[in-house]
Symmetry: C2
Subunit: 112 residues, 2 copies
Amino acid sequence: MSNTRPEPPYYAVIITSALTGDDQEAYDAMAVRMAELSVRQPGYLGRQSQTGADGRELTVIYYRDAESITAWKRQTEHIEAQRLGRRKWYADYYIEVARVERAYGFERAALE
Amino acid sequence: MSNTRPEPPYYAVIITSALTGDDQEAYDAMAVRMAELSVRQPGYLGRQSQTGADGRELTVIYYRDAESITAWKRQTEHIEAQRLGRRKWYADYYIEVARVERAYGFERAALE
């Protein structure tokens, strides 16, 4: 995602989650389907995600604006995925919607 | 961090980073020192971090307001740590300062 980030302002959705481990195969299939759909969502900019040794996942998904996030939350197939997620797959999750106000970086290659 | 999050608005600093692996012992010692200092910083709310199998780290640090972030960035010992980080420890990093506008969560235990 680092090469595709636009200039701020843009939006970040920070998702902290842990799975129950129930029905993992169906979860994996749904996650693939949601990934396919989400990248086609207008305003989607990219995502990054890391899963720790404890199984907790930290994901940040980037969007052009708040309206794109609302539209994705209300997408019909995604609503069904969210419902199944709460019923079966997620032990817990926490979602924060944040407006990126500034950003800066460093790359070693640029110095050498 | 999930139990200590306040009501929005508050701030999140999203840090994506990869280490060079050089001088790892000194890096680890510095990371411990910075963690000690940072929790004492006024406005600090908490942090979460996950490191992937590829060694990339995704960290989110929470603050009460933008001023607290600026104050931490200018803290004398932290400035020296940043300088050493760019000289030796970081292959790359990207830092995004974002204002959390809304947040919501789900915990399975609450349903059972």
